[in-house]
């Protein structure tokens, strides 16, 4: 093999090696490392197992005032709603008629109420409630459904103990083909 040919071959090998290495480096390093502590104001996910709840607390009595200011335009003074989609109170999944599905009759986890109100409500100003205001207003919604007493102090611990009437009403179909 001529010197020129050797040189060309060697450079081709090193070039392909370089491409291979850079692909490897690229695949491992484009994301920037971050710590969970840096995500405390960003991660709103609150799960039924108790993970993701902020400090704060409140009662249904406190939540009534917030509800009547911020929520009644869509959800009505007693949670009766202005449409099937905005009704929060009542219903019975075992009723003979077509069941009315609300937070009280349908939602399987109280955690969903916290998670959703915190991230998406009120619809005209999402994320404008403080954590304690969220605990208060969901305590009031649960109270209107007869699920908690109006004096219960709702916080991350007590919320985990709330049992929803339809907690056994769901079937996980996520692995169905």
């Amino acid at each position: 093999m001529s010197t020129l040919k050797k040189l060309l071959t060697a450079s081709a090998v090193s070039a392909s090696l370089a491409i291979g290495l850079s692909a490897l480096v690229q695949a491992q390093s484009l994301g920037t490392p971050i710590n969970e502590s840096q995500l405390q104001g960003f991660d709103l996910i609150a799960q039924p197992n108790g993970s993701g709840y902020p400090a704060g607390s409140g009662t249904a009595m406190q939540g009534k005032a917030i509800f009547e200011t911020r929520c009644v335009a869509c959800h009505g003074m007693t949670g009766e709603g202005t449409s099937a989609n905005t009704r929060l109170v009542g219903g019975d999944m075992q009723s003979e008629e077509r069941p009315i599905r609300t937070v009280g009759s349908y939602w399987p986890h109280a955690s969903t109420l916290f998670d959703y109100v915190q991230r998406a409500m009120p619809a005209d100003a999402p994320k404008s409630l403080t954590s304690s205001e969220v605990y208060q207003v969901i305590a009031y919604i649960l109270n209107m459904n007869g699920i908690v007493e109006n004096s219960l102090v709702l916080n991350k611990e007590t919320l985990m103990q709330v049992e929803m009437p339809n907690k056994d009403g769901f079937i996980d179909s996520s692995q169905a083909l």
Binding site: T32, I34, F42, Y116, A120, F170, D172, S173
Partner: protein, 423 residues
């Protein structure tokens, strides 16, 4: 039929799909109205005005003919109590092929379309991973990408057909929450692998950057399969209404889990049970138990022309055409009936069908001015056959109105009016 005529393959005028190929005017004339054959003495062709003067200059951004501006998505009136909520439906009855133009692709929003500056947008992957990571838009553009053609369908599409009475609607108003596009992006597994999936992780929880911070939980095994972080749609950056600068794309599954404006993926042992996977997008059965995480869209087809609220102006040959799709595979067969499902004929479908994409089907039909009920029935690559509306509603009930994929019936009356019916 006569030798030079067309072979009728099912009752009420359905013609062998072979006649789609090389269908000559002579052959067509054997069945079609004779006015197609005779010369019109009053018609003298002249060079039109636009052929006698230079046209418009090239432009920086294309626009459609002013003569097609009537082609619009259909969206309801804004609800002041639900700002940004709602949907816009594709004009299926006016489209052809199997790709929906981006400007006419259906949309569904839960809190409006955010105006996101890609330079400030972040995608975070965290939770049960070896190393939580944050990605910028620029970072993501440097990854190798894949392009695939997929349908996207809202699980509420066609939901009114669960109702007791047939709505007076069009293909667009009844079925317009489905579209097809080529999506380009990064396999999500690439990014999850980079963060290092913890062996305890079972779910990803995907959250958007819209005002509702809409979230959905997706099993990790599915997320590591064919799920994509989509950055481009039909070759251009994903539009704001579709999740700019990036969205999740979960092929074949109800559109809601393809979270738009994706900003967070958290790996966990359990699903979050977000509002949109408990209160909404769940399927209450007749026994009052509700199925959760019902992701794949069923095997389905719909005739887009002739379709509801159209009028057949004269007797003769029409091309019955529509779209078919399956969330579990590709479309292998579409049959069409013109007599409400008593007799069926195979429609022509595009020969190269990809998985979880729209398939265009067509069959010639001779309308002789009588009553007809047009239906289509799709079969996918796994042998799943589109059910009748009656069997679907009998099985699922109508407490929930998601995942309707029963057979649509379009009735044609003697005046040529086409209407949605239950047949």
């Amino acid at each position: 039929m006569t030798k030079q005529g067309l072979e009728i393959v099912a009752a009420n005028g359905l013609i062998n799909r072979r006649h789609l190929l090389g269908l000559g005017l002579a052959g067509m004339g054997a069945v079609a109205s004779t006015s197609l054959l005779g010369a019109d003495a009053g018609l003298n062709l002249e060079i039109p005005g636009w052929s006698k003067q230079p046209g418009a200059n090239a432009s920086g951004y294309g626009s459609r003919s002013k003569f097609t501006e009537g082609m619009q998505r259909m969206s309801g009136n804004p609800n002041p109590l639900y700002p940004g909520g709602g949907a816009s439906r594709s004009p299926l009855h006016q489209l052809q092929g199997s790709i929906t133009p981006n400007s006419l692709h259906f949309e569904r929003h839960h809190a409006g379309i955010p105006d996101i500056d890609p330079a400030q947008h972040k995608l975070v992957i965290h939770g049960l991973v070896r190393q939580p990571l944050v990605f910028s838009y620029e970072d993501l553009l440097r990854y190798p990408m894949v392009s695939k053609i997929y349908f996207l369908e809202c699980s509420g599409n066609s939901g009114s057909l669960f109702g007791p009475n047939p709505a007076d609607g069009s293909a667009q108003s009844l079925h317009g929450l489905v579209s097809g596009a080529e999506w380009t992006g990064i396999p999500l597994s690439t990014l999850l692998d980079e963060a290092g999936v913890d062996p305890d992780a079972r779910w990803i929880n995907a959250v958007g950057a819209d005002a509702a911070s809409m979230g959905r939980s997706i099993p990790l095994n599915r997320a590591m399969d064919d799920v994509m972080l989509a950055l481009f749609q039909n070759g251009e950056p994903v539009r704001p209404g579709q999740g700019y600068p990036m969205r999740l794309f979960v092929p074949g599954c109800e559109g809601n889990i393809s979270v738009k404006w994706l900003t967070q993926i958290k790996l966990t042992r359990e699903p979050t049970h977000f509002r949109d996977e408990t209160s909404k997008y769940t399927d209450t059965r007749l026994d009052r138990k509700s199925q959760q995480f019902t992701f794949p869209m069923g095997t389905k087809s719909v005739i887009t022309a002739p379709s509801g609220q159209m009028k057949l102006e004269r007797q003769g040959i029409y091309q019955v055409t529509g779209i078919a799709w399956s969330g579990r595979g590709s479309i292998r067969r579409v049959e069409v009936s013109a007599d409400g499902g008593k007799t069926w004929a195979d429609a022509m479908i595009d020969s190269h069908q990809s998985e979880k994409a729209l398939a265009r089907f067509t069959i010639p039909w001779q309308w002789s001015g009588g009553d007809a009920v047009l239906q289509s029935r799709a079969t996918d690559s796994h042998g799943n056959v589109q059910p009748t509306r009656t069997s679907l509603v009998t099985e699922k009930g109508n407490i929930s109105t998601y995942h309707f994929h029963g057979i649509q019936s379009w009735a044609v009356n003697t005046a040529g009016d086409v209407a949605n019916v239950y047949a």
